[in-house]
Symmetry: C2
Subunit: 190 residues, 2 copies
DNA sequence: TCGCATCTATCTATCGGTAGGTAGATTGCA
DNA sequence: TGCAATCTACCTACCGATAGATAGATGCGA
């Protein structure tokens, strides 16, 4: 069981993700990563030539993993509440365990000053996650009667509420409040 | 009409606020402020000894101004929609004009890595703004029947939705979507 | 022995912050 | 009223630390 390349690269990604979710993209350095992983900062550059590279790859991996965990939105007999509940649960776990924000929520907050490649990945997270919810909602009793436009707006709106609630819950030191939050679809948005 | 002290100090606060709202607390430097205002960085330290000082004062001024603009929530005959609309409008203006986030939303996103004094001010923003909405809601038909606890949760929940929506609207480059968003109170949260 | 992974060593740029000085306005007192 | 003391609002010059990034040597397993 010797340490392989993949181990180091993954450790770097893991730590970078944790640091961004806690402190933001501008709140960590290559030296933080290096000392945390147990290598020199030049070794971090070996895997990720620039900070933008690292940031973009962290975001892409995060999004991919997030969608895999969410699963297929088209499975039959899923209610709107269940769909939203899945999203909520995924966020709640990270927030409760380590006080970690959604990675792409943090990136969005700093977005104007970030490298383009990183912003693109953050954008993509909201596109894809919004689309996941939209596809799921379409199969529900509520969604079958809604326009494409309404489904889109509803989905982003639910995402918005969850992102904002994480922000507030964390700065207020009240993760329990986020846990109790149950966004509902129908009637919540005009 | 000579330049007075207040001019420089206010210019510093103005620019610091704009930079934080765009790039985050870790996304600006004393030199950015200095060159933007037209003084040397040491002169910025003259007014604000440390970056934490500057950040905390920017946040406090932002909160105070925000609440003044919101006005008295206890004025008679204000509906829940009107109250939420006021909040929404205040955020929409800044987002539409310069793509600026809520200052304290940005700070909340970075909060784990910020100086205590800055985090305290950000926290205070959500306390005070949440309280403003709660006090207003209590006077409405909906609020008069609600428990104190429900009023509190509802208020924070509305704030959360607006904060999250700003994040998403900006990173997606769609301020218009935020403008169209109309959070409603009743039934939105379980 | 090839070459991947990691190191040492270092670079340039910038960070927040400090030391010490100064022109000019203001104040207090003889 | 005159003038010395003090204050305001900056400045130049610099500090140690740290940022992201690079070149080239080394170790070590296949």
């Amino acid at each position: 069981m010797t340490a392989t390349t993949a181990d180091t690269e993954e450790k770097i990604l893991d730590l970078a993700e944790a640091l961004i979710r806690t402190n933001g993209y501008n709140g960590f350095s290559f030296r933080d990563i290096a000392s945390g992983v147990g290598v020199k900062s030049s070794s971090v550059h070996y895997y990720f030539p620039t900070k933008a590279d690292l940031g973009a790859k962290v975001a892409r991996r995060y999004t991919d993993r997030f969608l895999v965990t969410l699963g297929d939105p088209d499975t039959p007999a899923v209610s709107a509440d269940e769909l939203v509940g899945k999203l909520h649960a995924e966020f709640a776990t990270a927030l409760g365990k380590d006080g970690q924000m959604c990675l792409c929520g943090v990136l969005a907050a700093e977005s104007a000053g970030l490298p383009d490649a990183v912003v693109e990945e953050a954008k993509s997270f909201f596109d894809k996650t919004g689309d996941w919810l939209k596809r799921g909602l379409k199969k529900t009793a509520w969604g079958s009667a809604a326009t494409e436009e309404d489904l889109h707006k509803q989905s982003l709106s639910v995402l918005a509420q969850l992102e904002g609630a994480m922000l507030i819950a964390r700065v207020q030191g009240k993760p329990a409040w986020f846990n109790d939050l149950k966004p509902k679809i129908s009637g919540s948005i005009a």
